[in-house]
């Protein structure tokens, strides 16, 4: 156990901190929802130039080109979560597609897509889930058959976040209908302006269309748009699902939330007394503080395992389940601290707190608990892969 950082890493931390303190005017407003606003793109460009985004992605593909240094990545995550300024763009294109292409894409695919995605100019959506293929994703039915040099796609995807803004979709389609269900799937890159694609927004409980349904009718895509070998799409997708599950349990984000709630409990009052004076709310706060630190240290432990080249056991499988739940509980506490005021949403009376973001988080986090592998699927994975318990036997076919 050694919690000190080397002089190199401490210098790096100082540098990041100084940059964040002096760059308030350059960063986009957190309420800026335009994916390609000039300020968002220029901020992303600046972050990449400084090595604070796309840090380890080679320069030839538009990244910063640093050699991997987990501790520097750690320092970056810590400092950005401490700061009110946003980090680099974190969409599914950058966090899921780019690592997949770098690992499994052809040179032409890398050249064409990686740099444009990193810069924020090319926005991606993920076409995995279907109405009848959720937890059992490999049962998906959206079909692509070969016609000359093209695939012709027919079917439907659902829960497609950002589809209405996206330029491209990375998509799982069934190319070999007679193969076993995990073997007949291919991973396709589809331009969203291809004729035959229809995007229908799906209104959600947060009051926004954070998801869409996407319909495909005779959508033609060149066969060169497959990533990896045809029929190997399940393996390709699993590489990215791992990235997503790691992404959804960011312990530094939980710490940031915790600190915000401490401030809130000191400043919000009831009958003239700070809510921090309420012993029951305080007890919940400290309960969550212990969990926030436990998850932070757990994250450090996993980082160290990676640095040492050790393979994590069950501890590597619990982050999504525990991290999402913790964030949800933090949002729940914030709502209870604010009481009636916390109910305000889309409100311009002047009483609204934090733009209504806690209500949004409380609901949206439930979406995260369900999405990316439900909590129940996570528990199956923990029990089966982590604890060595057997899979549910398949019912006999009638």
């Amino acid at each position: 156990m050694d919690l000190t950082y080397s002089a190199e890493h401490e210098t790096f931390r100082e540098e990041v901190r100084a940059f964040l303190e002096s760059s308030v005017d350059l960063a986009p407003d957190p309420g800026d929802l335009d994916y390609k606003s000039p300020k968002r793109l220029s901020w992303q460009k600046l972050l990449i130039e400084r090595g604070y985004a796309a840090r380890t992605i080679p320069r030839e593909y538009g990244g910063f080109g640093a050699s991997p240094d987990l501790l520097k990545s750690q320092v970056l995550a810590e400092e950005f979560s401490r700061s009110p300024l946003p980090g680099g763009i974190a969409g599914q294109g950058i966090s899921m597609l780019v690592p997949t292409l770098l690992e499994l894409g052809t040179e032409a695919q890398k050249q064409r897509y990686v740099a444009a995605t990193l810069s924020g100019e090319m926005v991606w959506c993920q076409g995995y889930s279907e109405p009848n293929s959720g937890s059992d994703l490999a049962s998906l039915k959206t079909a692509a058959h070969i016609d000359g040099d093209d695939y012709v796609i027919n079917g439907q995807k659902i829960w497609t976040s950002t589809a209405q803004h996206a330029d491209m979709m990375f998509c799982l389609v069934r190319t070999e209908p007679d193969a076993p269900k995990h073997r007949g799937i291919s991973y396709l890159l589809i331009p969203m302006d291809t004729p035959g694609i229809e995007v229908r927004p799906l209104m959600t409980m947060v009051g926004q269309s954070t998801f869409n349904e996407v319909f495909f009718t005779d959508v033609r895509v060149p066969r060169s748009q497959v990533v990896g070998a045809p029929g190997e799409g399940w393996k390709v997708a699993n590489a990215t699902l791992t990235h997503e599950r790691g992404m959804l349990g960011d312990p530094d984000a939980a710490l940031k939330r915790f600190n915000q709630i401490v401030d809130m409990m000191r400043s919000e009052t009831l009958d003239g007394y700070a809510l921090m004076q309420n012993p029951l709310l305080r007890d919940r706060l400290i309960r969550l503080q212990a969990e926030v630190h436990a998850m932070r240290f757990h994250g450090l432990r996993l980082t160290t395992q990676r640095l040492r080249g050790e393979r994590p056991g069950v501890e590597g499988l619990i982050v999504k389940l525990q991290g999402c739940e913790l964030n949800h509980q933090l949002a729940a506490l914030a709502l209870d601290v604010m009481g009636e005021l916390g109910l305000l949403y889309d409100d311009d009376s002047g009483y609204l707190r934090d733009r209504g973001s806690w209500q949004f988080k409380y609901m949206f986090d439930l979406g995260l608990i369900i999405g990316g592998g439900t909590a129940q699927i996570q528990k199956n994975i923990i029990a089966e892969r982590g604890l060595g318990m057997p899979r549910e036997p398949k019912p006999a076919r009638s």
Binding site: A290, A294, L387
Partner: protein, 363 residues
Amino acid sequence: MDFGLTEEQTMLQDSVRRFLTDRCPLDVVRAVVAGDDAALRGLEDGLAELGIGPVLVPESAGGLGLGLLDAALVQQTLGEAVCPAPFTGQALLATLVIQTAASAAQADEWLPALVRGEMRCAIAATELAGAREAAAIYAPADCLDGKALFALDAEHATHVLVADVARRWYLVDLAAGGVRLNRLQTIDVTRSTVEVLLDKAPATPLVGARNHHAAGQQVLSAGRVLLAADSFGAASAMLAKAVDYAQSREQFGRVIASFQAVKHLCAEMAARLEPCRALLWYAAYAGQQQQDDAELMALLAKSHIDEVARFVARTATEVHGGMGFTDLLGLHYWFKRIGANRQLLGGPERLREAAAQLQGFAA
């Protein structure tokens, strides 16, 4: 930055675990708690041969010279085995009290005596965390009056280390007059607790601490980390037993481990337990390095592990079905040990309130 155990620490823990698997199986635990003194002596002698008793004692005094993290790793394995030897108080906390509160001359005399096993100290520290039944120790002049409750590890003890109301520590020789120990029989029969009654008992004050409050706090925090380590170990063992049992027990023509209802209980236990390990390591390390956040982290670690361990204790018992409720499997020894650790040196609600006060959250 390296957030993990060293190879030496892993080896230390593995060697204690191997010893306990071999020498402290359930039938030995049952023998000791039934009053078989030879079985307890055998276990103590084995631990002494293993050389881990003086884990915290400096090398100059014949110990291993290791830190609180190492001690917590040892304690974790004792919890895994519900080891009934009086180790936490006599080996670990006694060393910590002497190190933090005794003068150099006292430590030079007492630590080697601890290592040799000539001096064995029970620890009366409960009242540092809060007194019930008006328990309190007063020091009128060169002697002690009063009572302390739930003093730890009095078996085979020659002395008791007690703290007075001003948090000053004293060494009391049990062979001298004026001191009486009454056994307090708790649910956890794997460790004994006693009431210490002092009536003008001769006592040697520990005269090394510049700040009695800080010294007392350091011992209290270390004690909380060790109890958390013990519960973490006991809970880990219960989870492993639950998974094993579910793999062998068959109902409806299949092992119950293949039912999602059972798998999810086990997954929840693992998911809540694993982050406790990192929290425990950090809290122990913070105490060892005397970091500014040591007291807070001890409070957070014990309060959180108390809660998770209680959840694991009941859930693992449920996974065992009716067998979990019987004495036949002995699962209840772990269940009760976790229950006792939860209350000793402060239960979770008290600890969370202390953590709030420490951070200036509570008035």
